[in-house]
Symmetry: C2
Subunit: 265 residues, 2 copies
């Protein structure tokens, strides 16, 4: 039951953590841990149990130390979340041989629409893998290396189309904003299943009698009609990815109209 705010820590210390201090002091006993191990353990816990399950004691347990030991490496929980945030935005590509694990498709390949699509899907997948990302309220931008790299990739996708820099930034914001909003539906249904152990249909069926007692079809005519139609249509389990893909195409259509219009001038 916890939302975390990004960027609540000391900016200087956060930047050192995010970018890695070059030299570590040599005095004293050898550190048992590293910031990286702590961050990975924390991400694992958050992936499995959500942000609510993430506590300093829990992370420490995982690593075989006490909670207070973590404070040697990390100023506090807020900064830890900042680093977690940047870490999950690293691309698998950067760790190995240059292939990017996307079937050999490089960022620059294809037209701008294909590039934006690929980035949107990539982002969507990341949210699905790390649902706690939705709970991290970015009260301040986290300027880590991976997040900056992501921003750069996104801007590159719409570069060279004759747009101004401000327009490029606006388009990128549009895509990332949409993905963030759309992924909520997908994560919501997934979490409902995990939390309640029921499928979407089962859940609706258990709610139906409660809703029927209070729901007045005359007060919500259109909702009643659409709800009924949805109940018949979605015989197969509701697929939130379908909603995401539909909206993505509509949004790209809108962007396409804009780009064509600007190029024509």
């Amino acid at each position: 039951m916890t939302t975390e705010y990004s960027g609540s820590g000391d900016p200087k210390r956060s930047m050192e953590l995010l970018w890695g201090v070059p030299d570590r002091p040599r005095r004293g006993p050898k550190p048992k841990l590293t910031v990286d191990r702590i961050v990975r353990a924390a991400i694992g816990i958050a992936d499995a149990e959500g942000l609510a399950g993430l506590s300093m004691r829990r992370v420490a347990d995982e690593l075989g130390v006490t909670a207070m030991s973590l404070y040697t490496y990390v100023p506090g929980k807020a900064e830890l979340v900042d680093v977690m945030l940047d870490t999950v935005h690293a691309r698998p590509a950067e760790a190995d041989d240059g292939h990017d694990g996307h079937g050999g498709v490089a960022d620059g390949d294809g037209d701008w629409r294909g590039r934006l699509e690929r980035l949107a899907r990539e982002s969507y997948e990341r949210y699905r893998r790390h649902p706690w990302l939705l709970q991290v309220a970015t009260s301040v931008p986290v300027l880590g290396p991976n997040l900056l790299a992501k921003y750069d990739r996104e801007l590159s996708a719409v570069d060279g189309l004759g747009l101004t820099e401000v327009e490029m930034d606006l388009l990128v914001s549009l895509v990332t904003d949409y993905v963030h909003g759309a992924v909520r539906g997908a994560v919501e249904t997934a979490q409902m299943q995990r939390r309640t152990g029921m499928s979407t249909e089962q859940w609706w069926q258990s709610y139906e009698p409660l809703l029927a007692q209070v729901f007045d079809p005359e007060r919500y005519p259109v909702a009643a009609r659409v709800g009924a139609a949805a109940g018949e249509e979605y015989q197969a389990p509701y697929d939130p990815t379908r909603s995401f893909e539909f909206g993505l195409q509509r949004m790209l259509d809108g962007i396409e109209a804009f780009v064509r219009n600007r190029a024509g001038r």
Copy 2:
């Protein structure tokens, strides 16, 4: 520092709370409070201090009772948040004389595009007024009267265009998803100002030396270019509403292409 999940409580009890039980038992001492007063106090606190500042003890203080007294009216904090969620989605219109405070414009007026625009702006404004809405993770849909009414209004805006019910639902999801995503930027900058007491430019200026030490323009070529351009362009304080309006128009353009295409068949 707290995220709340919606729908974590007992469904039956939550529904009773949301829709109001018709008869209250008459035995025992007269209740000092009502659910409504508790919810309003809680909303006030969350508006002013964020979800992090919202605690049962804090709400109780506000109302001159102890924390445990609240549990006579509300099963727990999760259900309280559910009711808060539904409550802020009530329209001012329903409380008074039938005018809706939007300059006499009724929901049905105008074309579908105008209707969707109006609903999107309305939603945007609500998020700005109640930023904690962004922190409430809807792990389960809250089926309160006001949220259902909102859904009905949104569906009505795209009704009668020759779309299937499923398509209508997809379009509505697209708009609400976008608004949710887009409003994050706006709330983010507003909260940064409130939390740090700095304007956006001041904040960036204080961060610049830190960033300059680690930022390699060759590694992030496009981001460097756009960042520089943004720094020059946005002499006036960065206006997130501009980003929202830009994206809204692009999205509506995309929807328009879809609607025209479907109508043509």
